[in-house]
């Protein structure tokens, strides 16, 4: 069976999404178990794949039994395998955590909600596993469409934010499609490995450069890289909690993965090395992204919005690291990608828990929250330490690699931006915890429901089904940090191309 793991990884969630949808019309009670089952199988497959790739080296899978480049081919090396495993685990844990919040907020629409949730994961996993440039576009659209719907479901101005996301997302995806079209017209192939081989003689051509720019810019729009980030803060801060803690950690990170895959496996370092002018401009853009994201975050008075701007800043880390142009920078980018999945998941899940309990995430709502929700706040603090970059949490190690890469490339701007944003993160979270630790519990907390006249605050934590996953995520931060050495050695080093420019 293990030779079919690549197919199971993506088709098990797809099949379970369909079954969830059928169940939502006939037996709504079965929706959650079916969704968990589908994601569970995918998680098993992803973990098994990672183990196999580590033991045996890269695996291919011919869908429909057709050889590449005629059919669609999955190609898994340690890079996709580890990203797929991270995506699958986070999606599964988040679903386990989210069902209480979904029940509370979307009682009559649970079935469609679970359907779209599992479909979004299907799209993300497919994007990570596929080795076909066009197949990637289709899967990208699946996860985007589900994202628009899940975000648009939120209250207030969420539909408008979601529609803006849809416009920008469509522009991004269309640019990617057009870039693939440019590649197809000059090479005649859609398979990534085949493209890498066919593009070699064409590196001087303007069409290839344009294709590369189109693909990269399209992906930047989807990952909310700085000048085109405007959709993200609104969309993620207004999305329903469970959707935010699925999309915020995974969507942008998978897009970063796709960008790295395009840079390493389709265009190869030989090509990106010829685009030196572009390379410097991109690192400087990343510097601006990091600084601007940090400053915008400083201006927010709402936990979720603040976290959304931190995501913008983190995207700058990864793009900058990937474009620094040396092995350590690229290693740092990949390491930060994996770490950031868990970091962002931890803090967004904590925000979801807080929202579930007190129906608000503005700073005024958080007053005295350490007494009321000690465990949730502890997990948030762990996430904050990781974002700031305090050892032994994982954030420290990836920042360390990024800074070393920047020093080696002699890019002082990037070093300064990294240090500056870490400093801002300290201020951000210190301010937050000061409110939550020392200010008295807000009068009329949670809009008059909880603790409005209790002098001694009773602990009122989020339900255990949300708390346990949150604790797991917080522990994961430290575990990942401690595992940095093996991760770099066995997972990241094998995929670094020998001639990294």
């Amino acid at each position: 069976m293990s030779e079919h793991f690549p197919a199971l990884l993506v088709t098990a969630p797809l099949l379970s999404a369909l079954l969830v949808s059928i169940a939502s019309w006939l037996r709504p009670k079965l929706c959650l178990p079916l969704a968990l089952l589908g994601l569970g199988v995918a998680t098993l497959a992803a973990t098994g794949l990672l183990a196999r790739v580590l033991l045996e080296g890269p695996i291919g899978y011919r869908l429909g039994g057709w050889d590449p480049p005629w059919g669609i081919y999955y190609y898994l090396d340690t890079l996709n395998a580890v990203v797929a495993a991270a995506v699958a685990w986070v999606a599964l844990v988040n679903l386990a955590a989210a069902h209480r919040a979904i029940q509370a907020d979307y009682a009559d629409k649970q079935g469609p909600f679970y359907t779209l949730y599992v479909l979004a994961v299907t799209g993300l996993l497919g994007m990570v596993a596929t080795g076909d440039a066009f197949n990637l576009y289709v899967l990208l659209e699946i996860s985007s469409l589900t994202g628009y719907a899940l975000i648009g479901l939120g209250p207030g101005r969420a539909p408008l934010s979601s529609l803006n996301y849809l416009f920008l997302g469509t522009i991004g995806a269309s640019f990617y499609l057009l870039g693939v079209g440019y590649l197809y017209i000059v090479t005649g192939s859609l398979n990534m490995g085949d493209l890498a081989h066919l593009l070699k003689p064409l590196y001087g051509s303007l069409a290839v450069t344009t294709a590369f720019s189109l693909i990269v810019v399209g992906l930047w729009v989807k990952m909310a890289f700085f000048p085109v980030h405007a959709w993200l803060p609104n969309a993620y801060s207004q999305a329903p909690g469970p959707a935010a803690s699925l999309l915020a950690p995974l969507m942008t990170k998978v897009m970063v993965y796709v960008m790295i895959r395009m840079m390493l496996s389709v265009f190869t370092v030989d090509f990106v090395g010829t685009q030196l002018l572009l390379q410097h401009a991109v690192v400087w853009l990343a510097v601006i992204a990091i600084v601007a994201g940090a400053l915008f975050a400083l201006a927010q008075r709402d936990l979720k919005r603040m976290l959304a701007y931190i995501v913008v800043s983190e995207v700058g880390y990864m793009v900058g690291g990937a474009w620094l142009g040396n092995r350590i920078g690229m290693t740092g980018a990949v390491l930060h990608l994996i770490n950031d999945v868990v970091m962002t998941f931890c803090v967004f899940l904590a925000a979801g828990c807080i929202f579930h309990k007190i129906r608000g995430t503005a700073f005024e709502d958080l007053q005295g929250l350490f007494k009321k929700m000690p465990w949730t706040m502890a997990a948030l603090a762990a996430g904050a330490l990781a974002i700031i970059g305090v050892p032994p949490t994982c954030g420290f190690f990836s920042k360390w690699y990024l800074i070393r890469g920047a020093l080696e490339a002699g890019h002082w701007g990037f070093v300064c931006a990294l240090l500056f944003s870490s400093l801002v993160a300290v201020v951000l979270f210190f301010r937050l915890f000061e409110i939550a630790l020392f200010e008295p519990l807000a009068e009329g907390h949670g809009h008059g429901e909880h603790g409005s006249h209790a002098p001694a605050v009773a602990v009122a934590e989020a339900p255990l089904s949300m708390l346990l996953p949150l604790m797991a995520a917080a522990l994961g931060l430290v575990a990942l940090g401690l595992a940095t050495g093996p991760v770099v050695k066995y997972i990241i080093a094998p995929v670094m191309p020998t001639g990294l420019w």
Partner: protein
């Protein structure tokens, strides 16, 4: 703002146009796109899948995995529209209009009735109801069965002529939408209800993915239809042809149901009672 965006767009267009200088000429039979991957499809399609329509064989077999997700995209859009729009609360405003079928007398009810008048004597009509045109209603009623027959033909004959699941499914869906336009939404809902469309769109995609999973269960790769051969007592090449037919059926079902589902949700703003 407008000027900046205009300049940006013109600049971008200029860049794209400059890049076309490296492209092969239009219609050039020696372009890389015509020489690298596609000749295999054209020359081997008959031999390998026994399907003369190469678009169908590439769509549902060589790149069948793409098409499965394409169907899933349609399904996703249907579920997304349902999730975003559907609501169960009654239409705001107390007015409900009924028509006495025999005499054509129109009754307006201010209060919400405890029980919908039924029995075929009174029918509920739209708030902004205008008398339907007799010619349009009856011509459409006559046309719709033929449109549906044609839709089925397009699905089934996709192996030999332009067509297939998507095209046929859209034609079938359009026939139901035509009914909703020429009569009203309630009539169309009575023919094809909400639960039916919801189930059909999921079942359609499930047929596609299920055929793929069946191949997996029979020991081949996902969607490798050759594995179905022993099940149907045909050789592997014909198994591919038949496999394509099955998945096209699933596609047709899913596309039809989803088109109708999206239309109903958009036209009635999610109330499913009246609209357009």
């Amino acid at each position: 703002m407008k000027l900046i965006s205009l300049a940006l767009v013109v600049l971008l267009g200029g860049l794209f146009m400059a890049a076309t200088a490296d492209f092969p000429d239009w219609g050039d039979p020696a372009s890389p796109a015509s020489l690298h991957v596609s000749p295999r499809y054209i020359e081997k399609s008959m031999e390998e899948t026994s399907v003369p329509n190469i678009v169908t064989s590439v769509l549902a077999d060589y790149r069948g995995y793409d098409t499965m997700f394409e169907t899933a995209v349609v399904f996703t859009a249907g579920v997304a529209c349902f999730l975003l729009l559907r609501r169960r609360d009654p239409r705001p405003g107390p007015k409900r209009i009924y028509r006495h079928q025999a005499t054509g007398v129109i009754v307006e009810m201010r209060e919400e009735p405890a029980k919908e008048p039924s029995g075929g004597v009174f029918v509920r009509i739209d708030d902004d109801w205008v008398p339907h045109d007799l010619i349009i209603m009856n011509v459409c009623r006559l046309l719709i069965p033929f449109i549906q027959l044609f839709g089925l033909y397009v699905i089934a004959h996709g192996h030999h002529s332009p067509g297939g699941g998507f095209q046929g499914g859209v034609i079938l869906g359009a026939s139901i939408i035509l009914l909703a336009l020429s009569w009203d939404l309630r009539t169309a809902m009575a023919r094809l209800g909400e639960t039916a469309t919801g189930l059909m769109s999921a079942v359609g995609v499930f047929i596609y993915a299920g055929v793929g999973a069946l191949c997996l269960a029979l020991g081949s790769n996902f969607l490798d239809y050759r594995a179905l051969g022993p099940l149907m007592f045909v050789d592997p090449v014909h198994a591919r042809s038949l496999g394509i037919f099955f998945v096209e059926l699933g596609v047709g079902l899913a596309v039809m149901a989803t088109m109708v589902l999206i239309y109903k949700n958009l036209a009635s703003e999610g109330l499913m009672d009246q609209g357009l």
